[in-house]
Symmetry: none
């Protein structure tokens, strides 16, 4: 058995962090899903809530990007 | 097999903490999703609850940033 | 392979504790999300429940901060 054991940790850690990016999609999906459910029930109000939709998506997406950033840092910077 | 086994722990730990940042997106998504569901049912009340929306997002987002901070500390400071 | 195997445990443990901070965001999101869902259904009652909203957020947030504190202690004090 050869190789640097610290690299083993980097790659396993990057994979776990990448899973976090995927989990964040559940949060984004909850925002967009609730928007669509409401917009299709009351289409006349949907245009007024588009800004809120993007705010909610942006904050949830940011956390998923942080998880992806952790994976990138583990692979290429740590 | 070579390398410092403590670094293995730092990198795997950073990945797990990065996953935590992604999980926090579920909380943010729940806040924004419920806001949108309610705002589209009762658009006239939505403007009055915008402050609460941002308070809820801010507290949930803060915990996700703490998790990301844990990942950064593990990679570069611990 | 070199290094202290106890440090391996400290760092992996810190990562798992950091994930706990992210999971606590689910609780915060549940409090704020349900407040918003109810406040938009019955806006006139929302102002009277703002104190309860902050109590709920504070207790859930405190547990997330405890998890983050556990991660910091594992990295720098244990």
């Amino acid at each position: 058995m050869e190789g640097d054991i610290a690299q083993l940790g980097q790659y396993i850690g990057a994979g776990i962090a990448g899973m976090g990016a995927g989990i964040a999609a559940l949060g984004v999906g909850n925002v967009a899903g609730n928007f669509l459910a409401g917009a299709l029930r009351n289409p006349s109000a949907a245009a007024g809530q588009t800004a809120t939709l993007f705010i909610g998506i942006a904050f949830a997406e940011a956390l998923g990007i942080f998880a992806f950033l952790t994976a990138l840092l583990l692979m290429f910077a740590a």
